[in-house]
Amino acid sequence: MHTTHIRHAHEALGARFTDFGGWDMPLQYAGVLSEHAAVRESAGAFDVSHLGRFSVDGEGATALLRSQLCNDIAAVNPGRAQYTMALNVNGGVEDDIIVWRFDEESYWVLPNGANVDEILARFREAAPPSVTIDTPRDHTVLFAVQGPKALDAIESVIGMRPGRFRVARGTFEGQDLWVGGTGYTGERGAEIAVTHDAGAALWQALMDAGVVPCGLGARDTLRLEMGYPLWGQDLDETTTPLEAGLGWVVNWDHEFVGRDALVRQREQGLGRKLIGFTTPGRRPPRHGYAVRSDQGSGVVSSGNISPVLGHGIGLAYIDSADEITGLEVDIRGTWTAAAVVDPPFLKK
């Protein structure tokens, strides 16, 4: 089992740990609800060192990314980040990925922790000799700092104030630092990597700046309030971005693995799609619960209570491409009327 380089810091804060894709990572400190509230109202820090990150540098790097990923990285300038996906030949989502474009031919690719090996192997196999691929996850920590006060805290600690989807390199206490104005909560903030030697100091500096330590439990409720998909639940190799309602992530103006299958699906129409829904009351709809409607049936892919809204929210795959009416969710044996809602559930 892997764990974060600064595990001792989390233990000192009373963290409870969980196995997340082979990494033993903080699940919660004070509690999911208070951590969720801290991110919505102030600022929270998550140790997400388990997330994948590998560098792609050299002549041909841009062409490599364009061929492997369905969004077009050439559409964003150096200094910017992009949300994208690696598809298989059937158009299924092998992973959803953030790319940080530092320079014309210099990138960090950030896959989900569970998919790093697969995505890395795929890139290495397709890379020309002029491209160098390295694995900074081996020698860095990665923290997500999120919330309305996150940028103030970040600026006070690292002297940089990353804009939305802006990326940059820097230093912290003489060690290399990489930062992107990205996250998974719907709040302003950044994800910051530093080399192992500076990891504990950066975490402590964030704590000293009043940032609240937050675990993966709150990260999940925060992302769900925004309707952000989680790979392995809302996306996997059998679902396409079109079915997941993520057609905006597909840039059709270039060739990429899976494009032909998506073109066919676009022409033939969808057999199923991902919808957002809300349920009244505090009882959470959960992953795996059945759904039915006038148009078809399906299953909840992600569900929980929204801590901010105080009622159930969820995403579900349903076997119809039509507008859904009469939606119901089987919550512990009770068919419960649900409203179809386009995410984000939390309108900001």
Partner: protein, 125 residues
Amino acid sequence: MQIPEDLRYAPNHEWLRQTGDTIRLGISDFAQDALGDIVFVDLPEVGTSFSAGDTFGEVESTKSVSDVYCPIDATVTAVNGALEDAPELINADPYGEGWFIELAPGEGATLDGLMDPAAYREYTE
């Protein structure tokens, strides 16, 4: 971890307190801590009868849903209605305001077969 001396404890981490003919039941500090933030609790109606070992309700946290068990033959005489709007009381005060239900023990039912505080402390360690 609080384990009050005046209670008896069941293997699924329910506590029971007998006062005269009435038994109050909740879940232990250990249980609420393991569950995390509780967001919903499903409780039976007054008058419902259970046999020892029956599931009488469910507790849902942000992470999971768990059954709660009635460890003796009993009939529900009261339900803590405050939990409907404030299930967080279970986290904040598991042995006080976070109680679940009150029971009238069935014919011959006693708490004698349940763990005393010392046994429960050992059980949770």
